[in-house]
Amino acid sequence: MNFKSFSIIGLIYFSLISISSSLVIGSDENEILIDANFSGKDLLVFGAFYADPSQPREKKGDILIEVVGPKEDIVLRKKESFFGFWLNSESVRFKDVPSFYYLSSTSELKDSFFKENSIGLLETSQFPELNWSLITTDWGSVSSYDEKQEFFEALIRNKSYENVFKKTSDEIEILDGNLFKTNIPIPNTVPVGVYDVNLYLILNNEISKDYSYNFTVKRIGIENLIYNFANSFPLIYGFTSLIIALIIGWISADLFRRFRKA
């Protein structure tokens, strides 16, 4: 916390000496805790930006917020019809895919901007080469360019269904011309780990200021205990579950027998 407050003060100081533009972040949420009642959470990101004051308000620049979740490995499968049954056939393995990807801006930004600055994951149809180089892919039996493209698009589409990939340009609220605020919905399906938040102030299609911080999603309490126990001591965990089942079964049979006799 100290380091963060310090860096915010630093930013404000820095903004005073560079008169042209500035970006200050006020968000301080650095943990999202998964407990028994966790059903997703809205992450609040807010701050202030100060662009060229001589320009009219709508030309003061854009805010772009990018949230990138921990990497994960995914198998994407395509269904085909075999004698009327829809079964999985071809499969592709993607390694190091962000488990969560959210891109939000104050206005619709040009594709060329994303390409030049290597930001964005959702632009595959226009720029197949963009950022996909970061992802290791095992294509299996898939070989043609069109088919690969189809798999890329399907990955993003399926991730979007689960609300873990999203691109939006109308969810950042601007208050009083210089303050911005947005709620980023984190669904309950997200994995634990470190999430990077990157903020950019964009003037004339170029990044003028940027700021990054991160937050951690972690399990706590009984959820964490059970998960760790199940993975570290699977045999003891299995036996414990069995014993619980035996006890409840036994007690219920006994309880209801007395209940019916009475």
Binding site: E72, V75, R77, N88, L155, I226, A245, A253
Partner: protein
């Protein structure tokens, strides 16, 4: 109010889970079945991953069958010797079943195979029960009484390694019960079911066991098979969700007791006709998912989930 399931890694409405456990417990108490063959597809239907549904159902059935066995045991309706022989075949079968499950998960066909198996199973059971119960209802309306054969003599009586089963008053080979146990074990490992709806007719028709001893003995063997399956899933697929299991166990044992009380007030054949219709509806639901072209041909899974 929703609850986060630590292994399934999703949060789900707790009242939905309680009512699901309660209704399936009620049905299993009413019809004297384990209920796993309804529990697993319903869990998948409400969004629980297939591997978690299978592993957790097995754990839930342990509780349900312990509860059921005790009642039959007190009345001396469990053939322990037959049960132990069935279990010995069943444990081997459950190892095979869980390996099959693990292999199918790896090649990405587990969902399809489980759906096909469930469809075949539910459709055939539902149809047979509907035919049988409607015949009984028809005979009742016509006031006919049907004579039943008391004892069956078939190939099970001609195999070697014959032994005496005093409780069941049988003298047959140990090979058929081992084979039957083995098959049930495989089904239990791959599908998360106890298998009583296959075991009960097999014990009556193949082994010639008296009907009164069959239910208690089948419940007795299911405790052990589903216990082994639970342990194997906990250690190989890491898919057993203890939180989900506890919610389902408590709600289903309560439901089961209410089911037993209700069953005493209704006629057996009416009950079976009712269950047959429920089973066929679930089968139709599964068939629709298999045969109708999905909205999106692509689907993904996390690799870490299976290893």
């Amino acid at each position: 109010m929703s609850i986060y399931l630590p292994i399934a890694e999703i949060s789900i409405n707790i009242f939905l889970l309680i009512s699901l456990g309660g209704v399936i417990g009620f049905l299993s108490g009413m019809f004297g079945l384990g209920g796993g063959f309804l529990m697993t597809p319903m869990l998948i239907f409400i969004g629980i991953p297939t591997n978690v549904a299978v592993a957790t159902s097995a754990n839930q059935i342990v509780a349900a069958s312990v509860s059921g066995t005790l009642g039959h045991w007190r009345q001396g309706l469990v053939d322990i010797k037959m049960g132990i022989i069935l279990v010995s075949g069943g444990i081997l079968g459950s190892f095979v079943g869980v390996s099959i499950f693990d292999y199918l998960s790896d090649i990405g066909q587990i969902d399809a195979v489980i759906s096909v198996l469930y469809f075949v199973l539910l459709f055939s059971i539902g149809s047979l029960m509907l035919i049988e119960s409607s015949q009984v209802i028809r005979d009742r309306i016509r006031k006919k009484t049907v004579k039943k054969k008391l004892h069956y003599h078939n190939w099970a009586h001609r195999l070697p390694f014959k032994t005496k089963f005093y409780t069941s008053k049988l003298y047959i080979s140990v090979i058929p019960p081992i084979i039957i146990g083995f098959v049930i074990g495989i089904l239990s490992g791959t599908m998360g079911i106890g298998g009583s709806f296959i075991l009960i007719p097999a014990m009556i028709y193949f082994l010639g066991m008296p009907t009164s001893k069959v239910i208690g003995t089948s419940l007795f063997q299911i405790i052990f098979i589903t216990a082994v399956v639970t342990l194997l899933h906990a250690t190989t697929t890491f898919a057993l969700d203890a939180v989900l299991a506890v919610i389902l166990i408590i709600s289903s044992v309560v439901g089961a007791q209410i089911g037993v009380i209700t069953a005493n007030k209704l006629r057996g054949e009416d009950l079976r006709a009712l269950l047959a219709i429920i089973v066929l509806v679930v089968a139709a639901q599964i068939a629709a998912e298999l045969f109708i072209q999905p909205d999106d041909l692509f689907n993904f899974s996390h690799m870490a989930n299976y290893k």
